[in-house]
Structures are given as structure tokens and as C-alpha cells.
Amino acid sequence: MAEPLLEVRHLKVHFPTSDGVVKAVDDVSFTIDRGETLGVVGESGSGKSVTFLTIMGLTNLKSARVEGEVLFQGVDLLKLPVEEMRNIRGSKMTMIFQDPLTSLHPFYKVGDQIVEAIRTHQHVSKREAMDMAVDMLRRVGIPKPDERAKQYPHEYSGGMRQRAMIAMALVLNPDLLIADEPTTALDVTVQAQILDLIDRLKEEFNAAVVMITHDLGVVAEHCDNIQVMYAGKAVEYGSARDIYYDAHMPYTWGLLQSITRIDETGEKERLKPIKGLPPSLIFVPPGCAFHPRCPYVFDRCKTEVPELLPTNGHHAAACHLSLADKERIFKEEVLQRA
């Protein structure tokens, strides 16, 4: 196999504050191959967004302490000078955000904003850039793209704005697209359209995609691999089938059991939410960070931090339960609902 597109090794992002050090990301490692879609799942404050903002070079280095390596096509991004990072960001590696209204500038026409993104990275004339922008708007499914390019963001609907964001992100043919909750603010019908669009464009551009979300329900159809994050750590990693049919971590079980399922046709069943709230990232519980909320906790969990260990192939989970117990509990209790 060729070298991975992106390899992250022991990434730590800590923010010292007057109350203590916020360990937003604490020793996270993973790889993404070309053409892969990686889902990154976790609750608010699990460190999923900070991980990728750091990879994009968007964390403020004055306030954050960053350690580890981020190898993008073999180059460590954390060691790159700011100017070189700027060249990569927005052209080879791009990011779209949850709220498309706040990520587009309200004073400038959508077409002009895409032209600006193109001309920052490529030496083309304004006219050529505008042609590229209009062509890209057409490819993301915006009707009458030449007229639409001359409109302002407020004239677009929510789904249209997210399409425009995707157009801007993909116009320079990036190798990696990071989508941070790209559909959370959208209706389900539009959500389905946008996710399909990302899938299709990924094929066309032969890019890799990272899909960050809090909802395991959304990504089943679209991800090859899934990484579950909790309190700044990766707690489970595996293929989509591993996660949905054979999850090994009680936190993942909790996420799966919290989803309201349209395909549940029997008696009204109660959801089984994860009790309590995610911990403060300043005072992360000792041992396994999930232990205060875990229904299967035992003594070892309270003192010893579980490592993210592969159980079979590349499926890995950070949990002290024995493999036999995990498989039994998953089958008996978690799959019950499915």
C-alpha cells in the first residue's frame, strides 16, 4: 500500500487557562487513505472539531500547546512555516462548517467569494476564475449557476449555501475535504442531498473526506471507517460494519442506543441514553474517562487508562472489558433494539 494521505501521530492539543489545562485533544493517532471517507463521531466537547482545526492549522498557537505529528502526503504540517501552510490550506486541504450562513461573507456575491478563493492559490485571470466558479456551482447542483453566482448569500436557502460552500471547498481540487457537521443545520431531505453530493464529488475528485458529526445515525451510509471520540481521546476505531454490527466500547453503544430509529416498527421502545454529561476537559476523570457514565464499570476502569488496542484486524477499542464480555453485551443488550 502506498503511504496514507494523512497520518496523525500522537496529536495533543492543550489549552492552558487560568482554571487549569484544557486537554481538548489528548494523544490521538489515525490515518486516512486517498478515496476514503472517515467519520469522526462524538458529543459536543469531545475534541473532534479541535483535532481537525489543528490539522488545518487553524488553532491559535499563542493559546494552544500542540504536540505530535500531522503528516500530510509525508510532510509534517505542524513544522511548516505559516506561509507554506497557507498554500496547503484552502487548496490541498479544505474544510466546510456547520453553519453555512456564518461561513459566507454577507457583503460579497457568492461568485466573487469563490473567485477570491481560486485567485488566492492559482494565477488565473478574474474571468477564468469566474468561469471555474460558475462551472463548480453547476457541478454541486445549483440551478442557473451564472445568475446565482451574482447573488448574495442571503438570497440562497440553507441547502444552497452549503452547496456553495462545498463548491468553494472543492473548486481547487483538494486531496482532503473536512466536513464539520455539514448537515446538522439542514432539513433531512436537504441533508440527504448534501451527503450524496459529497459522496459523488469525492469519487469525481478522488479526494478523501472526513465527516465530523455527533449523530451516528447520519453517517452509516457514507463512511468507510469511523472513529469515535470521547473527552479528547479516540475510544474506538473501525470500519462502518465494525461500529454498527460489532461495537466494542460502551460509549459507542450508548451513542447507538440514543438514536431514534425510523425502522423500529414494534412497540414503542424507550431510548437508552447515556446518563450524565460529558466531563470537563480540565478535570478528566482518572482511569477511563468514560467510567463515571459507564454502566459496565469495574475497579480497574477507575485507575487505569485503557489503551486503544486492536481486537481484530484494524478494529480497535479502548476498554478494559474482555472481548467475550464485549461481544456478549453488544449482542444481548445493544443489538436488541436494532
Binding site: 436537504v190 452509516a220 451513542l255 441514553p273
Partner: protein, 354 residues
């Protein structure tokens, strides 16, 4: 994947079981005016355009639809936060369409509302205790000396720590704020709770906590819910019956499982096929009905069936000229479509005998 045939037990609908809320032919049009000094009306946003709905005591009716379909406007009309342009509203058999503010006051005790955004629906300058106490002060149902005790009981009921009485909303997380919203709505022991997207702003794990809480409270206080959301899977989970709205009209109304198995309106089918399924294999079996474009403008809704410009099954000229009526299909199911979907048009019954 086991498939059970039993339907959810539906509330009895006998003669002595009258609807708690009944609305007939309700319309809400917002005028659009031009000009600064000499304002004249140039059109209207047809936000709600002829809706009939009955909600029976103890049941949960879900209202689902895309942004801009009029579901929140309908909720506000029912609560009389907006006055209906046309139509009649009944609460427990009593018409309240033309009630004045003062006359509405006692009725407000019976019907309460909770909102989507737990950040903007709570006054940031007031303590949680005084936010929840407000209904008591306004309606004077509890003597002043006992208010604090009542509030703390409510806080406990919704799973908040009563000692946090003097904290401010910013000290709570999104899910906890939504619990404050529930406590405030329940303060007057209402019979009807209108919940407008109560969980859309929350993480899934917290969503599940709030949905369970609402379910528990319903059993405990025999509440009736009108539950509004854009997410069909959430609506189906909580509701006995689900109403699907499109451009100001109800296009289909059915028990949740019927709607899931045998949707009749193509719009329902499209909504259903867009709902993500947390199961990679099952998701692949689903037939997709992809909708083109966005919801048309409610200022000038399409003629005939409002869905015809986006409908994959539309036949012309019938759908463009003839406005379909709600007609019965399966038990408890009505749909407004000239060419309804066949049974199981969206979901294959995985594992079910053929």
C-alpha cells in the same frame, strides 16, 4: 431484524372521547406590504393554508415537514400567539378563536409551549428559579410563600438539581436548559403541551434523555402532546399519529408505523427515504425518492396539488389543476394525492415473510 405486526395501541376514540384540540379550516396569512408612508398590501405569505386537525386527550400527534412548511406557525396559531386569518379553534369543545387576551388567560393554564432553542428562550438575566416561578406569579395559582418549594419540586421532576435554584441559564448545558423549558411549561399543570422542535438543537445522547423525560411526564400527568420536528425518526418515535405538512397544508396523517410501512403521499415517501438509517446494510435496501429543488415560495403556492412541481409521480394536467383532498387509505390514514404510492414503496420489509 424482527418485524412485529402489532400496531401501537391507539387512544380510544369513542363518542365520549372528544378531541382536546380541534382546529377547522385554519389559515394564517401574513400580509406583505410595500411603501413606507402609503403602505399597501401587495400579497401574502400563505404560511398555513387550510388545516384541519384533531388531537385527542393523552395522545401525541407529531407534525413534520421541511423548513417553511408552516408547522411552527400552526403551533403558534393554536396557542393563539398569532390570530388565525380564517378558521376555528376549539379546546375541549369550547371555541376560543376570537378570545381576547384577558379571556385567553385561564386557557393558557391548560396549554403550554416549549421551544427549540434553549439559548434564546430563557431570559439570561433571570435566575432559573425565577424563570420557572413566572407562570405562578402571572396566574397566581400558588401563594407566594410556597412558590420556591413548588419550583424546586418541578426542578427535581425534570431532573435538575433543586439546589441550582439561584443559578443563571448560562451555567447550564443545552440539555439542562431544555429541562428548564420543560419545567416552566409544566408549572401550571397544563393538559396540552406544544413542543416546537424541542430536541433539534441537542446532541443525540442528550436528545434521548429529553425524549425519555417527555415520555415519562406524559404518563405521569396524562399530558397531550403536539410535537413538532423536521426529523421524521424523532417524530415517529414519540408520536401515536404523525401529520406531514407541506406548504401550509397537511398532506398525510397516519399512525407512525403505517406511515413508515405504507406512506401514500409521494412527499411522505421522499421524507422517509431521506431519513438516515443507522445500519449500513439496511440503508442500502432503501429505495430513494430524491426531491429536486427547494420548497416553493408560500407567497404564490403552486396551483392544484402544491407538491406537483417537485413530485416524481405527477401526471399532467390533473395534478396541476385539481387540488387533491385528504382521502382515507389504511386504518387511521388519510392522504391528499391523486396517484398515491403503493404499499411498501419505500421500505422493503427486511426479514418479513414475502
Amino acid at each position: 431484524m424482527s418485524v412485529q405486526v402489532n400496531e401501537r395501541t391507539e387512544p380510544q376514540r369513542t363518542a365520549d372521547h372528544n378531541p382536546l384540540i380541534k382546529i377547522v379550516g385554519v389559515k394564517k396569512h401574513f400580509p406583505i406590504s410595500r411603501g413606507i408612508i402609503f403602505q399597501k398590501k401587495v400579497g401574502a405569505v400563505h404560511a398555513v393554508d387550510g388545516v384541519d386537525l384533531e388531537v385527542y386527550p393523552g395522545e401525541t400527534v407529531g407534525l413534520v415537514g421541511e423548513t417553511g412548511c408552516g408547522k411552527s406557525t400552526l403551533a403558534r396559531v393554536i396557542m393563539k400567539l398569532y390570530d388565525a386569518t380564517e378558521g376555528q379553534l376549539f379546546f375541549d369543545g369550547q371555541e376560543y378563536t376570537g378570545y381576547s387576551r384577558g379571556k385567553m388567560q385561564p386557557l393558557r393554564r391548560e396549554m403550554q409551549m416549549m421551544f427549540q432553542d434553549p439559548y434564546s428562550s430563557l431570559n439570561a438575566r433571570k435566575t432559573v428559579g425565577s424563570i420557572i416561578a413566572d407562570p405562578f406569579l402571572i396566574h397566581k395559582t400558588v401563594p407566594k410563600g410556597r412558590i420556591k418549594k413548588e419550583v424546586q419540586q418541578l426542578m427535581e421532576l425534570v431532573g435538575l438539581n433543586p439546589e441550582h435554584y439561584n443559578r443563571y441559564p448560562h451555567e447550564f448545558s443545552g440539555g439542562q436548559r431544555q429541562r428548564i423549558g420543560v419545567a416552566r411549561a409544566l408549572a401550571l399543570k397544563p393538559r396540552l403541551l406544544v413542543a416546537d422542535e424541542p430536541v433539534s438543537a441537542l446532541d443525540v445522547s442528550i436528545q434521548a434523555q429529553i425524549l425519555n423525560l417527555l415520555e415519562d411526564l406524559q404518563t405521569e400527568f396524562n399530558l397531550t402532546y403536539l410535537f413538532i420536528a423536521h426529523d421524521l425518526s424523532v417524530v415517529k418515535h414519540v408520536s401515536d399519529r404523525v401529520a406531514v405538512m407541506y406548504l401550509g397544508r397537511i398532506v398525510e396523517l397516519a399512525p407512525g408505523n403505517t406511515l413508515y410501512r405504507n406512506p401514500k403521499h409521494p412527499y411522505t415517501g421522499a421524507l422517509l427515504s431521506a431519513v438516515p438509517i443507522p445500519d449500513p446494510d439496511l440503508a442500502k435496501q432503501k429505495k430513494r425518492i430524491i426531491l429536486e429543488g427547494d420548497v416553493p415560495s408560500p407567497i404564490d403556492p403552486p396551483s392544484g396539488c402544491r407538491f406537483h412541481p417537485r413530485c416524481p409521480r405527477a401526471q399532467f394536467p390533473k395534478c396541476k389543476e385539481d387540488d387533491p383532498q385528504l382521502l382515507p387509505h389504511h386504518e387511521g390514514q388519510v392522504a391528499a394525492c391523486h396517484f398515491p404510492l403503493e404499499d411498501q414503496a419505500v421500505m422493503e420489509q427486511a426479514g418479513a415473510p414475502a
